[in-house]
Symmetry: C2
Subunit: 587 residues, 2 copies
């Protein structure tokens, strides 16, 4: 929000009492308020737009000739988790800014599960000098599965209310419908506290319909970004939820949803764009929010409408239309120049009036933030991890036993519950590598309990070695999959040594490792280095026999205690729909 | 905003744990989020909509058959001053509710000028039990002309910030552009304090264009309700101001603006409807916001679009879309049933789930509020008013002198500055009744200074007697026009005796009087009685020779120190554009 002094400077500059910093002349202004495109000039002072009057003459320190290019507002990603990119905020700027994203609305639930409010503060401080803006959707579920997992921090209703008072906080992050449908009071308090601050509540209405959807919406939810079909989109609008149309790495909803909106001639004033989770490689290859926009235009949406979905609609939704989302007086000067409204690859990107990217690249790479030592040292093991840590004693004395197996489902985040017979040797249940029945374990890594949950998984395809990763949603303990207990222990200990990260080991040797020391989730390296690193890790996994396209991404989601059928935490195996611990062995 | 307990009740009712208060079945739901109209049922509990799912079966205490009528959200008047109606909040309910207005966004600047924050509180308390909602646009100019008038109260930036914290306060009321263009810091503070609370600033960009409009918008203004031409409307949208399209008693903008919007195919997501100032008689004859809507539809606007302008668009603008503006789960159940979308005269009006009006009439007339004694006793004269109070001594010793005259302009609020020669008798300047040059005076009525401003006016046409009124914008001292000083004194003293109101006197006798004791502005009587009373007063004025259509309304606006060319306050005659006191006599 603007201070008195800032408002005064803007006004006085418009009155000619100060010299503008920038005159961006000779542009075709894409005006998302009036729906018009017309020739004009844009005057900027101290990050704010002073005037867009085509006839006014104001002095400016710098004049940039737009050469008739379209000037459109900087794009807004209405919902994303940036920790999943493994990039630090400074590295992310290299990827999203050249594509024109100047504001991200970030649900920082990953770092919050690791480090609570202090973790959010670190992220906010790290972005302070960067040429894009981060707005916070305050994580509503820290932990995601209370009573079933150990997390680094807990954000209870009281803590959430305190964070909600921060100026950067604009909403309560995607609230799980089950919390409402089971009338969990803590979450109703979080909603009430958010609404009382005139902020909004983001939804997450995945797979909900009919009366369940009505009840969910009735609690005060404002939006949903989980629509996959046009029927779902229509049903969300009907109950008063706005819809964020998502195009991420795996969840690709623009095609079906935009086609449906056009076909059914649905109103677009309640629609926005988001990415949710998009891998760096995909951002680099395709684009970011500009990809959503240009895809929508290709599908037949008017460019003005598609641009509104990526700008003013999100700004209004988050009640920030006096700050961002349009090129109009008083707003922050986030401006893109594009020569082709169908392509939307900006030739110039201005953030708060400063030219920060040109022709697909940052003008200056962003220097690394100084992270406090503690956030670089969050991976703590209470007890040493050895091969014994993963032993699974059988209950009886038989040579075989029946166990539950988490069965991967191709290209989906959900899994199935299967049962198989496994051998028992020396009283311990053994995996069956030949049948791809491997051990999966989650090791508590906050130094709190030393708990290790062990189960079986099918689908990774390893024929030797083990893979470990300290990003395991949403608790972010260390998850490890392996063919033998010794390699699993080494994989975990390697991640521990690296203060978080990824490891691939085989026969007692570390094949590859990559450190993610920022909260155990993110790398301080450049996006190029991170992309290379991930490729090396995936290659190593493939060498161990893994057939999955993104082995570590699968590993990071397989343990989720909130996605059916089963999850695994440091507490043990979880029946997701029953929300309770279950035995691995079926007796 | 909803409390935790309220949210819990809504959610639990949707889950079948409580019985609904109301099932409104068999309606055609006009869904302003999805833009669709379809058959459904509406379930309500404790003032909130629980579900609009067509298939759900929930128990309800009362079932009302909508008989296939359209169910549309209650209308919102985005900007109005209700004190100008002379009605108390309870009497106003009788007029606006049957026409379907369930929410008014009220800039209470009149009562604020009389009684400050305490006056606003009285109004809020008086509406508490009434079947409509008042949202406050916190008056930005109390007083309107600082240093040039005495008011009952002053709302400085500090005071405004305190009021802005009230839950009912949603915006800073229409801010005068000159305050921005002259960089008056107090007003910039008011803007900054409002934006810091995530609330908006209402504009009043009357007659502003080009760079002035850019500068005005750049200060953080959000809207304008003063557009008269389509060019003005377009220019407001271009600078990022939303537009409230007004249809009041005298300012009738729907025809030109809606026609222009349709002709130029302008986007409608930044448009709303308001009345600003609409007299009771006009509301009764034509309607209220429903009149704006049906007029827009007659001009060719889609009914769904026109209804959005009167409902969800205003709700979003004031950042209340989670509370009002749509018939969707969780929102307050303000619902109108109409059988003809082209007419929009509701057969049933529900406010917060209760049927309150049917077939053009309230079900129960609203009982009168208990007003605190002090708000009924605000008209105080510091000194007795006699004929000497209005004496205007000439400066020289000539038998005639040249004076300035406030010249009324037919059907407009502005006036012209004229000059005439008047006789001087016993050293005092005399009016010239035969030429319609009458004395106009403003008598300070807060018991503070005893000041009396005296000048001349042309256009009332009185040939005898005097008229007085305690509503004189925006300071609301007693304004009086007359042919002779004695009748002027009697007229003022009559208004004083009545603790505010209107009077007409002739030759030492009171012809008619009407008391407005609530702040000296409003009557405690019913709307019928007030309308009758105004007719009697206007008749009396006509008997005195007045030829104006609304003599007292003209009287209430003629003294305004902010509308060119001249104004009159208890300080004296004012040159509006120069914002300074001037002499009546031209020497």
């Amino acid at each position: 929000m603007r201070t008195f002094e800032e408002i005064k400077t803007t006004v006085e500059t418009g009155l000619g009492k100060h010299i503008c910093d920038l005159k961006l002349e000779n542009v075709q202004l894409v005006n998302v308020f009036s729906g018009e495109i017309y020739p004009s000039n844009i005057f900027v002072k101290d990050s704010r737009i002073v005037s867009i009057d085509p006839d006014v003459k104001l002095e400016a320190v710098e004049v940039i000739d737009g050469q008739g290019a379209y000037a459109i507002p900087g794009f807004i990603d209405a919902h994303m988790h940036f920790e999943s990119t493994m990039l630090s905020p400074e590295a992310l700027s290299n990827e999203i800014l050249p594509h024109g994203t100047t504001t991200i609305c970030a649900d920082l639930m990953e770092i919050a599960n690791v480090a609570g409010a202090e973790g959010l503060e670190v992220m906010l401080r790290s972005i302070e000098d960067l040429p894009y803006r981060m707005i916070i959707e305050v994580p509503s579920r820290v932990p995601t599965a209370p009573g079933l997992e150990t997390t680094g921090a807990i954000l209870d209703a009281h803590e959430v209310a305190k964070i909600m008072d921060w100026p950067e906080s604009v909403s309560l992050g995607e609230l799980d419908p089950s919390k409402i449908l089971f009338v969990q009071e803590e979450y109703l308090h979080k909603v009430a506290d958010t609404l009382a601050r005139r902020k909004i509540v983001n939804g997450h209405a995945i797979g909900r319909h009919g009366q369940e959807l009505n009840v969910y919406a009735s609690s005060g939810i404002s939006d949903d970004h989980e629509c996959v079909t046009i029927d779902e989109l229509t049903s969300r609008l009907r109950v008063g939820l706005k819809v964020m149309i998502r195009e991420g790495s795996t969840e690709r909803n623009v095609d079906e949803l935009i086609s449906g909106v056009l076909e059914h001639n649905l109103p677009t004033d309640n629609l926005m764009f988001c990415t949710d989770d998009k891998q760096v490689q995909d951002i680099r290859n395709e684009g970011h929010i500009n990809y959503n926009v240009s895809k929508a235009i290709k599908l037949g949406m008017e460019p003005m409408t598609a641009i509104k979905l990526a700008t003013i609609n999100s700004a209004k939704h988050f009640r920030l239309e006096d700050e961002i989302g349009s090129i109009t007086p008083g707003r922050l000067a986030d401006i893109l120049l594009v020569t082709d409204l169908n392509k939307l690859e900006p030739s110039h990107v201005f953030f708060e009036g400063k030219l920060v990217a040109q022709e697909g690249a940052l003008l200056e790479s962003c220097h690394s933030s100084e992270y406090p030592a503690w956030i670089l040292d969050t991976v703590k093991l209470k007890n040493p991890i050895t091969d014994q840590s993963f032993a699974l004693p059988a209950k009886g004395t038989n040579k075989t036993t029946k166990v539950r197996v988490i069965d991967l489902v191709d290209k989906q985040i959900i899994n199935r519950s299967a049962s198989v017979i496994l051998a028992v040797s020396n009283g311990l249940i053994e995996p069956s590598v030949s049948e791809d029945i491997l051990k999966l374990a989650v090791v508590e890594r906050y130094g709190k309990t030393g708990g290790v949950g062990v189960a079986f998984v099918r689908g990774f395809g390893l024929d030797k070695g083990a893979l470990a990763y300290s990003m395991s949603h949403d608790h972010h303990n260390i998850v490890v999959v392996g063919t033998n207990d010794a390699d699993m222990a080494l994989a975990v200990n390697t991640v521990h040594e690296d203060k978080g990260g990824l490891s691939a080991v085989c026969n007692g040797e570390v094949l590859a490792r990559m450190s993610l020391p920022i909260g155990g989730l993110m790398s301080p390296l450049s996006s190029d280095d991170v992309m290379k690193g991930v490729e090396i890790m995936n290659d190593a996994a493939r060498k161990l026999g893994c057939t999955l396209p993104s082995p570590y991404m699968t590993l990071s989601f397989i343990s989720l205690p909130t996605v059916p059928a089963m999850g695994l935490t440091d507490f043990g195996l979880i029946d997701v729909l029953q929300h309770k611990l279950i035995e691995v062995e079926i007796i």
